[in-house]
Amino acid sequence: MSPLPALVLLPLLGGAVAWLADRSSTTGTSSARKISWRITLMVLTLETVLLLITTFGQHSYQGPWLDHFSIPWIPIMGISFQLDMDGLSLSLLWLTLILSFPCVLLATRKIDTNAGAFHFLFLAALTGITGTFLATDLFLFFFLWELMLVPMFVLISAWGHEDRHRAAIRFFLFTQGSGLLMLLSILGLVITHYRQTDVLTFDYFTLAHTHLSSFLSMVLMLGFFIAFAVKLPVVPVHVWLPAAHTQAPTAASVLLAGLMLKTGGYGMIRFNLMLFPETALRFAPVAMGLGVAGILYGAWLSCAQNDVKRLIAYSSISHMGFVMLGIFTGSNTGLQGAIVQMLAHGLSTGALFLIAGSIQDRLHTRDMAQIGGLWASWPRLSSAGLFFAVASLGMPGFGNFTGEFLVLLATWHVNSIVAALTTAGLVLAAIYSLRMVNRIFLAPTRTPPLHATDFSIGQMSVLGVLMVLLVLLGVHPQPVMTLSLPSSLSTAAPSSGGDYGQ
């Protein structure tokens, strides 16, 4: 029995249990208030065990992909509950789990109002993300893709900060609207396949062999592309991101930045590159141009922000530009760079959002001018902030540099001028990162925080794990790079000639 469906469904069920438990124990004592938090932690632990089994267990499934699960769901429409896992999914699943632990350990414990519902929504979003990384039935993929949005929308609009409603609605409109385009593309692909073969199916592997005219395949690919581009985000459609990241509660910010953006990158690899390889190659110049624009534009705007969470949000746009650039270079190097960049960005930006969120919880402001120097009073928090800021400026030896270097290398093969232009983004990265460091960490002490305390040793050790992983990704990324390449499309035989196979 494959553990994949359990991996997907466990958070949802656990979340429901957490919610019910919280509702039934409204006695008001603080220990009872934390019951949903405890259950969430247990769910994540169980999930880790499952993932460990998946990673290291003996697979009965034989094939180029690591694991496979399928039962019919709506047979009359050819829809099945089908999950497949390859190295790319596996590495992103690990990222998901690794990031959700610090979220729960550091951020969600602070939630007092309706903690049960919060944890339920958190875990539901996690289900969506996990499922998105695994689903190979296009309908199921779309379903989970949308499933991820709704809890996030509620999380932002209910637990967010001052301007949460506008941010949540903007987030929802952008992602939902682009999701509909993707649904159209999916339907178009399915119907084309049905016309050709009289088989109604949403199966990813079958649909991959549909013969499409070049125009049609471009249109369908664009439908997918726009949905993923909004999620990634790519520059002209990034508008939802700064607002949503800024207004979301800490845990949701981490989920958004650390994981949800990755679903965009994952989708681009799995559905743009692998379903439409030739079309993606034709589209590559445009996509790479958008990627470079994202890198420079995000970094430039990041230099101008005074709101610390906004600064980090714009830096994410810059980093995800590298992902986009890497994916569309059309080489394995670029693809590996993009994947490493996704993982490293998840770790570093997730941690930065955790730290920014902790600052906001303590000082109730995100304005860097008001925060002032924190080093003297909170050395642990500040040193963690410094560490991740340095990581995000692309210091060699951290995962971000590995990703960026591989992407740049692959880009240099394609177009050296574009790559040289992109390195300007690295200078801008230094400017915004160090500007942040010198505004809020290593800066003159402004207001002595009264009741707030520094990170505890336990919290620091949680962040320490992230640090270690980031450094490992920086100095020894080879296992991850080998593991995380997407498997080829043919389920029958081990891949031999696939463009993006191993």
Partner: protein
């Protein structure tokens, strides 16, 4: 033996990690002891390595590949270390000078609350620097290259309570980062054309001629820009004087002895690549020569002791670039070594003096210090003599002499025939040597002789004095391993670096000129500043040219005007997301348009329905006139209708 290489890097790294994690929990003494002992052990390792290397057979560089870093289809990089003569020399300099500076810093920094952060960054810096010099892979070198940059940033901004310090730290990092981006471009060019950044692979590909000449030129140019930024050469020189905002041991270790020489190390390491591109070589030499003169002139008018030394560092690095540009990289590395000794000594002595004068850095408020602190005076004199290149008795003389005499006979293939470029550069270097002697003697005469202006207090602790003594010894006698043929045929250094060093025929007059110029400088300085009634009563800001020179020839203002202010302004201008506005604007426009349509529709509907109602009313009234309730009328209508029906029936 090769396991010592990772150990060399690991010891300072482990100590840095230990210091960061235990910050605030252990005493200042322990912190200093841990840091110094880690560097000391590293120094021991490097001495052991040097012994082993010198006794073993030549031409067997020690190599160790720790693990694969990134391997893809078209590129591979490893975390790999190798020990060859240049890197052996560098690790000796880094660890020994670093150890002495750490020893000094234990007492110097003991009062600081952030001492753990200080020593953590310092040891981290040493380990990054060791990575830089030991890597056999250029990408791995880049880890160290950026690592020393970030440590330098943290240490310049060590006293973060003053925003000027952090601004100086950021300035240093940004300017070197620009160079780093250029260097990354250079690395990418090499990586795409050779598929690897292993030094020997790159050089083999170069030897095999598989790299196109244009590619090579571009790569060399980019790498040169990286080196110039790191070593604060002419377009990038402005960050180094500001970097003096950091603690003095930092200035000594990072901004004099080691990090700023990374550019020289890089070019020396890739000298074969640079030698293949005459254009870049010529550029390097010219930039070096210009930097020598510019920085020396600036140093001549500075009043801040540490800034004098900073400008002098830039000037001395200019010598090394000049040497690299003329192809005598051995001389550059030799000068790098001696410079590390005497400049570290000068900085540390200056730090001790400043500490005893209650943080007074203006040389015109010092004076007559030889009476109150004879030991420090002796150390500073040793360093100053080495910097000036006092003949025969100082190390600086030998290294500078090696550069000067080699330039005379250098050959630049790209220079126009009528222009004796080598001779011009030699003249500039000689003028630089004269100016060097002049400014450092001016400093010595003003600070140590003449009337006393500030009372000194306390005494220099022994833990600080020992490193000064060691460095004084090295400054004076560290240069005897290499001598001009005219004096004695000792070529230990060049033989150690590369087996056949083409010793040009050195005329005796060259050595004589090189030796007499510093003496002339010192004599003139004595005439100007040393006598009881100084000829030159220096008033700060006396004339425009001095003001200009004091500000570093306006480069700061120029960059501020050309880059910083426009950047700030543009960033400020675009601080709000234009696209955000665009999308919001589209939203607003849509809303406005739809409102417009809605009003238009409402209005037209109102109009239409009003008309309809009116029309219906009219018709209603008309019909109501028929419906008058009078039976006779009804009957009449019936009859009329019947008649009409009949008529129509009959007619048709």
């Amino acid at each position: 033996m090769s396991y010592l290489l990772p150990l060399l890097v690991f010891l300072p790294l482990a100590s840095a990690l230990f210091l960061f994690t235990t910050a605030g929990k252990i005493s200042a003494q322990t912190v200093g002891f841990v840091a110094a002992s880690a560097i000391g052990l590293s120094a021991l390792c490097s001495i052991v390595l040097a012994g082993a290397f010198l006794t073993s057979a030549p031409s067997t560089p020690l190599q160790i590949t720790l693990w694969e870093w990134m391997h893809t289809q078209e590129f591979s990089a490893d975390i790999a270390f190798a020990l060859d003569p240049i890197s052996l020399l560098m690790i000796l300099v880094v660890t020994i000078v670093g150890f002495l500076i750490h020893l000094y810093a234990i007492r110097y920094m003991e009062e600081e609350p952030g001492i753990a952060r200080f020593f953590g960054c310092m040891t981290l810096f040493v380990s990054a620097m060791l990575v830089l010099v030991l890597s056999s892979d250029l990408l791995c070198l880049f880890i160290g290259w950026e690592g020393v940059g970030i440590c330098s940033y943290l240490l310049i901004g060590f006293w973060y309570e003053n925003p000027r310090n952090t601004a100086a730290a950021r300035k240093a990092f940004y300017m070197t980062r620009i160079g780093d981006a250029a260097m990354l471009c250079g690395l990418l060019i090499l990586a795409t054309s050779t598929g690897s950044l292993q030094t020997h692979t790159v050089l083999t590909a170069l030897g095999a001629g598989t790299i196109a000449p244009q590619t090579l030129t571009a790569a060399a140019l980019f790498l040169l820009v990286g080196g110039l930024a790191k070593s604060a050469q002419i377009p990038f020189q402005t960050w180094l004087p500001d970097a003096m905002a950091g603690p003095t041991p930092t200035s000594a270790l990072i901004h004099a002895a080691t990090m700023v020489t990374a550019g020289i190390y890089l070019i020396a390491r890739l000298h074969l690549l640079f030698a293949a591109v005459p254009l870049v070589m010529m550029l390097t030499a010219i930039i070096g020569a210009l930097t020598i003169l510019m920085a020396a002139c600036t140093a001549l008018v500075q009043t801040d002791l540490k800034r004098i030394l900073a400008w002098s560092t830039i000037s001395q690095l200019g010598y090394m670039f000049l040497a690299l540009g003329t192809g005598i990289w051995q001389a550059a590395v030799f000068h790098l070594m001696t410079h590390a000794f005497f400049k570290a000594l000068l900085f540390l002595t200056a730090g001790a003096i400043i500490a005893r004068l209650h943080h007074e850095q203006d040389i015109f408020r010092m004076g007559g210090l030889y009476r109150s602190m004879p030991g420090l005076t002796a150390a500073f004199l040793a360093g100053a003599a080495a910097l000036a290149g006092l003949p025969l008795v100082t190390s600086g003389f030998y290294s500078k002499e090696m550069i000067l005499s080699s330039i005379w006979s250098a050959h630049f293939p790209l220079a126009p025939l009528f222009l004796p470029l080598a001779h011009i550069l030699w003249g500039m270097a000689l003028a630089g040597a004269f100016l060097t002697a002049l400014y450092i003697s001016r400093c010595v005469f003003i600070v140590f002789f003449g009337p006393s202006r500030t009372a000194a207090s306390g005494s220099t602790p022994r833990l600080m004095a020992i490193p000064l003594a060691c460095l004084s010894f090295l400054s004076l006698f560290g240069g005897v391993i290499e001598m001009p043929d005219t004096l004695a045929p000792i070529h230990l250094f060049t033989r150690f670096l590369s087996s056949p060093f083409p010793h040009a025929e050195e005329p005796v007059w060259l050595v004589l000129t090189g030796g007499s110029v510093p003496i002339a400088g010192i004599v003139i300085a004595w005439i100007l500043w040393g006598r009881a009634t100084p000829v030159m009563q220096e008033i700060p800001g006396q004339s425009t040219i001095i003001r200009m020179a004091k500000e570093g020839w306006g480069a700061d203002a120029l960059y501020d005007f050309l880059f910083v202010q426009p950047f700030r302004f543009l960033v400020w201008l675009t601080r709000h997301d234009i696209l955000d506005y665009l999308i919001l604007g589209i939203g607003r426009m849509t809303r406005a348009i739809s409102t417009f349509f809605e009003t238009a529709r409402t209005r037209s509907l109102t109009l239409f329905s009003g008309k309809t109602i009116l029309f219906l009313h009219e018709g209603d009234a008309l019909l109501a006139r028929f419906q008058n309730g009078r039976v006779r009328w009804y009957a009449a209508w019936i009859v009329a209708g019947l008649c009409a029906a009949l008529v129509s029936g009959v007619v048709s």
